[in-house]
Amino acid sequence: MLRVDIRKRLGTFLLESQFSAENEALALLGASGCGKSVTLKCIAGILRPDEGHIELDKQVLFDSAAKIDLPPQRRNVGYLFQQYALFPNMTVAQNIAAAAKDKTRRKAVVAKKLRQFHLEDVATKRPAALSGGQQQRTALARILTSQPRAILLDEPFSALDSYLKYQLELELSETLSAFPGTVLWVTHDRGEAWRNCRRVCVMDSGRAQPVQTLEALFRAPGTESAARLSGCKNFMAVNSRGESVFLPEWGLTLACRRVVPPETAVAGIRSHHVHFAAQNEENTFSCGVAKVIDDVFGSIILLRPVNAAQDAPLLRMELDKAAWAAHDEEETVTVAVRPEDILLLQNS
């Protein structure tokens, strides 16, 4: 179990990170520059927070009040760097051997790890001669050889093309499923978080939001930034009106079928939740078709609600190519959003 409660100032940027993780894979989800990497580096002991407390399996790693600041060597926290940080002057076997704690059993440990990670054929090669997958396996083997109590993954696939990423993600999640401790998985990719973690901590401009399940994040993100990270594309300022919201820029009132909290400032509508209205459906409104974008597997339609102000943002709708084909010729369409699909969001 990992408990983090730290503050760190970097120039004008203020990081306030507060969350705890059980022995689970917890996703740290945030746009780039939101402080995810800094948080990981503080946990590993590479950076020092200005103040706060970090605790792993009841051992205090950092506490500004008690003046505790263990060096990285004594924290037992494995760190998978974006570019893997393999030692370029050492072979695969030497890289793994360097991390072995028990020097007398080093040979046996290295042999076992080479076998386990399918690295026997490249054991005497240097990192520069390895494929991306082999580099990642070497880095993981090296980390696990050091017997960490927690593993931190810093955007493990950020530099890879999508097919290789898919392959490595499979391998990585398989390896980590056998790991008993805490795994922090830093990413800006909601799909990656969804596939590999059950719970998530959203970070936005230096602030960590409460840990929640990924289901909860997608169902009710709570804040605009979390909704953005969960893939929502339409955001409109709203005034709450009992059980509905008024969107001034579109001159539109949408029913929500639940009491709208007074702090609601923005409504979010996912592009694929906008659909052609059935007869007598609630929340139906007419829109002019402003632009049609032909995507790989679907169509993206940008709509202008009929009562919208001249400079109001357009409504983005995504649907199957076939579903759009039936409406292709129309200049005005009638669409609807189900009340429960309207995300009620705070500003940040």
């Binding site: 060597q73 924290r75 002057n89």
Partner: protein
């Protein structure tokens, strides 16, 4: 031909190169971690001997190590030996003038080092000493080797400060450079030419080695 000046020059250069190697590396490593102001000041002080005339370095060393000066008189009182006018006195001079070359090149090499490698090493539980010698040094190998060779060459060619602190005594403190000067001054053109040729040969080899290291660094990095 009396080969003593070659032997003396080589041992002075060898000893001072070893000293400069460690001093330069450690200063480069630790000074890079200091706050900016301290770094700037130390940088100027440590690089100064590179741009000062060697006679000024020699003068300052004599002010410090001469038998009537602070360090020199203390050493004489405790060990019964003068610090100047022996064969190894030249080492003080060569260390001071060769140090900036090693310090500068090592710092340049360390600056190109990918610090995440050191971070990775620390999170794996490796000691800072291990990381320095087994990760950082191999990574910066070519730059550091080039710095070492340059420092050796500078020590071998040292004249001004050496002649002031060690003087010229044939068979005792004579080095190649002081010998060339003495032979020319006494009109022994043939003798001077021989030593000039020896010096040219050594310098050519040193430059070849430096060029070789630099081309390997350009082509061989990852």
């Amino acid at each position: 031909m009396d080969w003593y000046p070659l032997y003396n020059s080589l041992r002075i250069s060898a000893v001072s190169t070893v000293a400069v190697f460690f001093l330069g590396l450690l200063s480069a490593y630790y000074i890079a971690r200091l706050p900016r102001l301290a770094k700037g000041i130390l940088d100027v002080v440590l690089t100064l001997p590179l741009v000062l005339p060697p006679t000024v370095v020699g003068y300052l060393l004599l002010r410090l190590l001469g038998p009537n000066r602070v360090v020199g008189s203390w050493f004489l009182a405790h060990f019964g030996t003068k610090l100047v006018m022996t064969w190894w006195s030249a080492i003080f001079a060569t260390v001071v003038v060769a140090f900036p070359l090693m310090y500068r090149t090592a710092r340049g090499a360390f600056e190109s080092f990918d610090e995440t490698l050191a971070d990775a090493g620390r999170t794996l539980g490796l000691s800072n000493t291990y990381i320095f010698w087994r990760v950082r040094m191999p990574y910066c190998k070519q730059g550091i080797l080039a710095g070492t060779v340059l420092a050796f060459a500078r020590a071998l060619g040292e004249y001004g400060a050496t002649s002031m602190i060690a003087g010229y005594t044939p068979g005792r403190t004579a080095t190649i450079s002081t010998t060339v000067y003495q032979l020319w001054r006494t009109g022994d053109d043939a003798g001077a030419t021989r030593w000039v040729l020896v010096n040219l040969a050594i310098s050519a080899v040193v430059l070849l080695v430096v060029n070789l290291l630099e081309s390997r660094q350009r082509g061989g990095r990852r």
